[in-house]
Amino acid sequence: MKRVIRFVLNGFEVEVETDSHMMLLDVLRDKFELTGTKEGCGQGECGACTVLVDGLAVNSCLFPAFEVEGRHVTTIEGLIGEGAKLHPIQKAFVDAGAVQCGFCMPGMVMSAKALLDENPTPTEEEIRAGISGNLCRCTGYVQIVEAIQLASQYIQESKRG
């Protein structure tokens, strides 16, 4: 069955017709051509498809498209500011050398955002638990953890001044 769903995508009100068996991931990539969010496994194990729905990190590969009706969805594309400015979390990942092949990055950054939104100064253990649903095959996570610590610092700094 088809249906027009209306929701807020990266701050903009949008509407799109979609099929009942589609997942949010398909809608984002195919209907909106927001290819930043990736499919890594399709089964909710790898986190490459992580987006925020009403501020919560979810695997968009298992999030039925119809369920976004009336909700706020934030994808990796929603973090870029005006003037192609990287979000502090993204900048931290670049500065900490945490990026290799990059495929896990959009999902990883979104999980980091959800984590820092809820817990602005997490311990290393909390960071590792917070990204435990995001698999990375390249980095061994060391520089990713450092990036999230740096991101926390950047965000605190920007709040202060």
């Binding site: 990539r29 927001l34 290819t35 930043g36 969010t37 990736k38 499919e39 890594g40 496994c41 399709g42 089964q43 194990e45 790898c46 490459a48 994808t75 990796i76 594309e77 973090l79 870029i80 990287l86 993204q90 990942f93 670049v94 500065d95 900490a96 050398g97 945490a98 990026v99 290799q100 092949c101 990059g102 495929f103 896990c104 990055m105 959009p106 950054v109 290393e124 253990e125 960071i127 590792r128 638990a129 990204i131 435990s132 649903g133 995001n134 698999l135 990375c136 095959r137 390249c138 980095t139 061994g140 996570y141 060391v142 520089q143 990713i144 953890v145």
Partner: protein, 799 residues
């Protein structure tokens, strides 16, 4: 070495921002106008005759544009001994065999069509154990060899045998001997970005293929051969490589799905995209070569190694790919890890109905080092020598030639061992914590660090282009697959040229526009491409300084005149220049050209862009474009004698772990991990650490939890639920990296390749630590909690 501005620092890589912004385009994100989607039908049996393929229903499904089988397409044969075909005819030999394929207007319709294809098989007995496959009466998997000659056994006509000295004699002389049998399973690359391609033809029937590959030019060659087989001999292929979501060796081969995409594109006249799902990636992409190894090592009363004998039986799977050549690399540690005068290495490769294997990070070295280093600890115990000490006693040394003919130049093994010894507090801990089920373990490693001449050419070409704005574009055929090649290249190019890294743009991944490169394997990317970049940069500097000798003073005087015009009181300085300036008078750093004789004079500096424009925008102008082809001073291994200096330099390392074992559940907790690597020279701190951390963690997976499981040829765990790779939550312990810089003159700024070494020593280091903690030596990987717990239980019950 002169003062370096950027080499050794942590410089953000140029592709990082796009990747964290979600803007990088991977094969999954790429669309071509009019594109169709391809899907593949795989075999229902491990071994069977194909009796009949009924594609009639699939063909009629609306939205389907082509259905192909071996029976309605020309045969496309591939593989390095050409024993594989794109679509199977007559027989299937493994579950992942491709029997048919569909191109349709969307992936769902394509999958529906696949499900409508009905194949009739006559099942044949399958064989899944190489040692069974060589027995009398075993079912024959290839009844004919690739040349059409009858075949009556399952032995693969690829074998390896290395002999140095006299092992039998050495066995008689040895005071202590240790013997072990060890196994490693197949391992999936598990790249986050799965494999895929888009194939299309232009109107002259040349092929353009966007594909996940690490070998664009060798792939071009493979695809051109395929074109010849489908009736397009003489046509050319353009291989374009999108951003890769990891590769780890999986892109060193060309694959069935690529040839199928080409056939579908040819049949439909439209671009056809095939992207593997995660399940397909696990089931149908070749994993790391599994091994069964028998090893014997012996030493004298002082712990000096006298001999090493290694015999391997290798499950080749149903077709032959790079898994069969891993012994050519395994030979390196087997002959050269530590100084061993007498070595025998023999392999037997056998066809089975299991999946076939390809290259994976380390290319056999992790499997060989697993055997050598585990057995060495066993030998140390026999000899009553501390495992750390026995390694110091036998350590590799600089300026040595190994039995295989490898020329070791720089060698930081001793420094690496010392680092592990100190950082793990080895002397305080080894043998002293068994009551707490804690232990420390060490392993060394040795790998190619200056590429490896596995093909006749080991070259990498670059073109360096300086534009009118002082920006340099470095164009190379080497591939960025996440490992950080671009991060190393911007540093090396900037440093060698005399500009800043932010002004270097790297272009890769297009056989039509990039200079030839043999492939990004053997940890060679940064080593060869940076060396080539340095060569090209030196040529560019020569041109720039040539131009400077003509135009530098003009620019200087022009600017002084401008200053004077602005401020009539300005005093024109005495520049102190007599006569004509020569090219050798100049230097360039951080985008500015200046005189060597007066480097700090602010008036005697001209930005590069001004000079280039000066030379370019005039009659009979000139441009600055240089090229270089770097082919290292190394050799192919002689296939008969197995001798040759495969690499231009070698990388050494030592890794160590402190672990704590839960004796009841078998879980191994790493308390601390140390990775010490002789890297020659750090080019970019970010990327080198990334490679070592990343490699080490893949090694930990190899050691503790990863295993491609199969039963009668069927893969049992084709998903992340049951093929476990480590998550951040598994790794909450300090990982210390020690970078030993031995400054090798073969390398760019002294650097060696580090893509693979991080992984090589992990499994034995951890296993050796587990032994220290528990007294139990596990000889098959992974050392899963189950395996360890049951071994502990068994030991407890028997005592």
């Amino acid at each position: 070495m002169k003062d370096l501005s950027f080499v050794g620092k942590a410089i953000p890589r140029p592709d990082a921002a796009d990747k964290v912004a979600g803007k990088a385009i991977y094969i999954h994100d790429l669309k071509r106008p009019g594109m169709l989607y391809g899907k593949i039908k795989y075999s229902d049996y491990a071994h069977a005759r194909i009796l009949h393929i009924d594609t009639s229903k699939a063909e009629k499904l609306p939205g389907v544009r082509a259905v192909i089988t071996a029976y309605n397409t020309p045969e496309v044969r591939f593989g390095f001994i050409r024993d594989n075909v794109a679509l199977k005819k007559g027989k299937v030999r493994q579950f992942r065999d491709e029997v048919a394929a569909v191109a349709a207007i969307d992936p769902e319709i394509a999958q529906e069509a696949i499900d409508l294809i009905k194949v009739e098989y006559e099942e044949l007995p399958g064989i899944f154990d190489p040692e069974e496959a060589i027995k009398e009466g075993a079912p024959i998997i290839h009844e004919m060899d690739p040349r059409g000659r009858p075949k009556t056994d399952n032995i693969v006509p690829v074998s390896w045998r290395f002999v140095a000295g006299d092992v039998e004699e050495a066995k008689r002389k040895a005071k202590f001997i240790a013997e072990d049998e060890l196994q490693t399973p197949p391992i999936s690359h598990a790249c986050l970005g799965t494999a895929g391609c888009i194939a299309e033809f232009d109107l002259q029937n040349n092929l353009i293929i966007h594909t996940k590959t690490q070998i664009p030019f060798l792939a071009q060659n493979d695809f051109n051969r395929a074109l010849a087989q489908i009736g397009l001999k003489g046509k050319n292929t353009r291989v374009i490589v999108p951003t890769l979501g990891g590769a780890f060796g999986s892109g060193l081969d060309t694959h069935g799905y690529e040839y199928i995409a080409i056939l579908l594109a040819y049949k439909t006249g439209r671009p056809v995209k095939i992207v593997l799902s995660r399940e397909e990636e696990f089931k149908t992409l070749s994993p790391r070569q599994p091994t069964r190894t028998k090893i014997v090592q012996g030493c004298d009363e002082n712990g000096r190694l006298l001999f090493r004998e290694v015999k391997m039986v290798l499950d080749n799977g149903a077709y032959t790919s790079w898994g069969a050549t891993t012994p050519s690399v395994m030979m390196l540690p087997i002959s050269t890890l530590y100084r061993v005068p007498n070595v025998l290495y023999e392999t037997l490769l056998v066809y089975t109905n299991n999946t076939y294997c390809q290259a994976m990070r380390g290319y056999g070295n992790p499997q060989a080092t697993w055997a050598i280093e585990t057995n060495l600890d066993h030998l140390a115990e026999q000899a009553g020598i501390d495992p750390m000490d026995i390694r110091f006693i036998n350590k590799n040394i600089p300026n040595d030639i190994s039995p295989m003919g490898l020329h070791i130049t720089t060698c930081g093994m001793e420094e690496c061992l010392k680092a592990v010894r100190n950082k793990l507090n080895w002397d305080e801990k080894r043998g002293k914590q068994r009551d707490k089920a804690r232990g420390v373990g060490v392993s060394c490693l040795f790998h190619v660090g200056g590429s490896g001449r596995v093909y006749r050419s080991d070259g990498t070409g670059v073109i360096l282009k300086i534009d009118d704005f002082g920006y340099a574009t470095l164009v190379t055929g080497a591939i960025e697959m996440g490992q950080g090649l671009v991060g190393a290249l911007i540093v090396a190019t900037a440093e060698a040229l005399g500009i800043t890294p932010d002004r270097v743009m790297v272009v890769t991944g297009d056989t039509a526009t990039c200079p030839w490169d043999v492939g990004t394997h053997a940890s060679r990317g940064a080593f060869t491409a940076c060396n080539a970049a340095i060569m090209a940069a030196e040529k560019a500097r020569a041109k720039i300084f040539e131009i400077a000798s003509e135009h530098f003073l003009n620019r200087v005087k022009y600017k002084l005149d401008q200053l004077k015009k602005k401020d009539p009181n300005f005093q024109l300085p005495d520049l102190g220049i007599k006569g004509q300036l020569q090219p050798e008078d100049f230097d360039m750093r951080e985008n500015l050209i200046f005189l060597k004789s007066d480097p700090n004079n602010e008036y005697l500096k001209v930005p590069l862009d001004e000079l280039v424009r000066e030379a370019h925008f005039k009659e009979q102008g000139t441009m600055i474009v240089t090229e270089a082809f770097y082919d290292p001073c190394n050799q192919m291994i002689d296939t008969k004698t197995c001798r040759g200096n495969l690499s231009a330099t070698y990388i050494f390392g030592a890794q160590g772990a402190e672990v704590e074992v839960d004796l009841e559940t078998g879980h191994v907790k790493i308390l601390k991990y140390v990775a010490a690597h002789d890297v020659g020279k750090v080019i970019n701190k970010h990327t080198i650490l990334g490679q070592i951390y990343g490699g080490a963690v893949q090694g930990m997976g190899f050691a503790l939890c990863e295993e491609y499981k199969s039963e009668k040829g069927r893969m049992l765990n084709p998903n992340f639920l049951d093929y476990k790779i480590l998550s951040a939550n598994d790794l909450n312990f300090p990982m210390e990296v020690e970078l030993v810089e031995t400054i090798d003159e073969a390398g760019p700024f002294g650097a060696k390749g580090v893509g693979e070494p991080g992984l090589v020593a992990v499994a034995p280091a951890i296993a050796n630590a587990i032994y220290d903690a528990t007294g139990i030596r596990i000889t098959s990987l992974p050392i899963s909690p189950e395996k360890l717990a049951m071994a502990i239980r068994k030991k407890r019950n028997s005592s």
